[in-house]
Amino acid sequence: MSVEKIDVHYVAKLARIELTEDETEAFGKQLHDIVAYVQQLDTADISLIPESHLDDHTSGNHLRADIACPGLPCEKVLQNAPAAVDGEIVMPKIVE
């Protein structure tokens, strides 16, 4: 089956994953195989399936009342942070 060449660089960039040249090549091949395999879905007749892809629930809305409840103490948040100062999480400079 013919499958369009996958632009692994573009996709890895979208996913924010740095790949080495070797990885790019290996993934490219493996993804190509997998994508070729999943082409089989073209043979399924989906013409009668409606557009909406989540189950329409039948038991009413599952929503939350607007009532505040305690969250995490700041120390616990900072404990897991790679870096923090004055209650804020610190990261290398965000440049736009």
Partner: protein, 480 residues
């Protein structure tokens, strides 16, 4: 007491008769662990002191009072590391409890040990753990299955009474089959996912590994039920899951789908499963030939939907708020790229990239949207099947445990190991794997029963009947 043959049921009786205490059980278990772990390596961490304090406090009158339960390392427990066997989360100390942990505590159980897994539950062999290699308790040159391979291996090795795992495409049932224990995936929405580190939200369910079917029903009874913290949790009342255990199975309609016995299946596995089907027939169950015509698409559907959801679910691992941050990071962009490159293993990256690809501009309809529709067709297959039968019986895995390293270089072959388990996740129905014998190399074979959503009680009834009529579950692996 021989800790290798005790069950939750037997321990409860001993606690009630005050023959033994939870702390003594814990010590006996730890002794067993000490002898098996050097080989099996199913546990990532254990805190004996903490567990002993909980054992001493345990109220044995509760449904799971004083029962130690091992936890897959992707379920949050306050004050415990929750690494998902990933370098990225190696130092993530969870600040909160998953709902299932709260429910285990409420039922009197205490947690002991965090088990190994494929990184972020992506894999079928537990070889994608960033930390250690778990071995099959029946043959240490083989894999335990995955992704919940640690939980399956320690229950199979009889170095845990029970363990929680998560099942996205077979991650409980397949390793349970390969390790010779009972593993069950509940109907979607029956057990809260709150606190389970998400792999694929629409497929993930927490379930348990146990030594017997009845134990499994008892654990599920404790953790199941609507949770307002999980928006996908089902509001239906959970029935008494043990209600039908021990009842006669005469007249039960057992469906055998022809698509599950085709090529690719190990003949020894097929033979064991067929003799189990014969047993059901001999016991008065009605065996019905059924068809699940879209089975052939299960893996394709799964690997599109699961990776798409995973690519989004794992985007939060960015090196900013918690977890791994590359020391080379110079700005926000390099924080992402390098932390994810260094923090994730190859399989995780592969699946994120695949999932990103199938959602990306221009491909959404061809892949993700189409896969969702074929998934709907798979659901319809089961809806029709369950008009003809009460349960569907199949092999759990097409093969017994394969050798370590055998499929590492061929992701697609690895994915094909899940061919029989994926459908239950895609359709949201329940499925259980239980031992149904050993092949010529003494490797366990698993039998899978699948029931309609919220059909757990009947599934447990049929599984229990088979189990108790055979001795497979009593066979303890000899581990050296």
């Amino acid at each position: 007491m021989d800790i290798t043959t005790e069950t939750i049921r037997s321990l409860k009786e001993k606690y009630a008769a005050e023959d033994i205490s939870p702390a003594e059980v814990l010590d006996a278990l730890e002794a067993r662990i000490k002898s098996t772990e050097p080989t099996v390596q199913g546990y990532l961490r254990r805190d004996l002191g903490k567990a002993r304090r909980k054992a001493l406090d345990a109220d044995t009158s509760l449904p799971l009072g004083g029962i130690p339960i091992a936890i897959k390392d992707n379920i949050n427990e306050d004050g415990e590391y929750c690494t998902c066997a990933s370098k990225y989360l190696e130092n993530y100390l969870s600040p909160y409890n998953a709902t299932v942990i709260d429910r285990l505590h409420a039922a009197g159980a205490f947690t002991y040990g965090r088990t190994n897994m494929d990184e972020f539950a992506m894999g079928s062999s537990t070889e994608y753990s960033a930390f250690q290699t778990t071995r099959n308790p029946w043959d240490q040159t083989r894999i335990p299955g995955g992704s919940s391979g640690g939980s399956a291996a320690v229950v199979g090795a009889r170095s845990a009474i029970a363990a929680l795992g998560s099942d996205t495409g077979g991650s409980i049932r397949q390793p349970a089959a390969l390790c010779g224990c009972v593993g069950m995936k509940p109907s979607y929405g029956m057990v809260s996912r709150f606190g389970l580190v998400a792999f694929a939200s629409s497929l993930d369910q927490i379930g348990s590994f146990t030594r017997t079917v009845e134990d499994n029903a008892m654990v599920l009874q404790a953790i199941a039920g609507y949770d307002p913290m999980d928006n996908t949790s089902n509001r239906r009342d959970v029935p008494d899951l043990c209600a039908d255990i021990g009842k006669d199975i005469k007249g039960l309609r057992i469906g055998v789908p022809k698509e599950y016995f085709g090529k690719g299946i190990d003949p020894a596995v097929a033979a064991k499963v067929k003799s189990a089907i014969d047993w059901y027939q001999n016991e008065g169950a009605e065996v019905v030939d059924i068809s699940l015509p879209h089975t052939e698409h299960a893996i394709a559907v799964y690997y599109i939907i699961a990776t798409a959801e995973a690519s989004s679910n794992l985007a939060r691992f960015d090196g900013v708020r918690y977890g791994y941050r590359s020391s080379e990071a110079k700005d926000a962009m390099s924080t992402y790229f390098l932390s994810r490159e260094e923090g994730f293993g190859a399989e995780v990256k592969r699946r994120i990239i695949l999932g990103t690809y199938v959602l990306s501009s221009g491909y959404y309809d061809a892949y993700y949207n189409r896969a969702q529709k074929v998934r709907a067709l798979m659901k319809q297959d089961f809806d029709r099947a369950f008009e003809q039968c009460d349960l569907v019986v199949t092999p759990t895995s097409p093969t017994v445990a394969f050798k370590s390293g055998e499929k590492l270089d061929d992701p697609l072959q690895m994915y094909l190991a899940d061919v029989f388990t994926i459908a239950a996740n895609a359709a949201g129905i329940c499925g259980i794997s239980l031992p149904c014998g050993f092949n010529s190399e003494d490797l366990p074979v698993g039998l899978q029963l699948m029931g309609p959503a919220y059909g757990e009680a009947t599934m447990y009834q049929a599984a229990h009947a088979y189990e108790q009529a055979h001795d497979w579950w009593k066979t303890v692996p000899s581990i050296s």
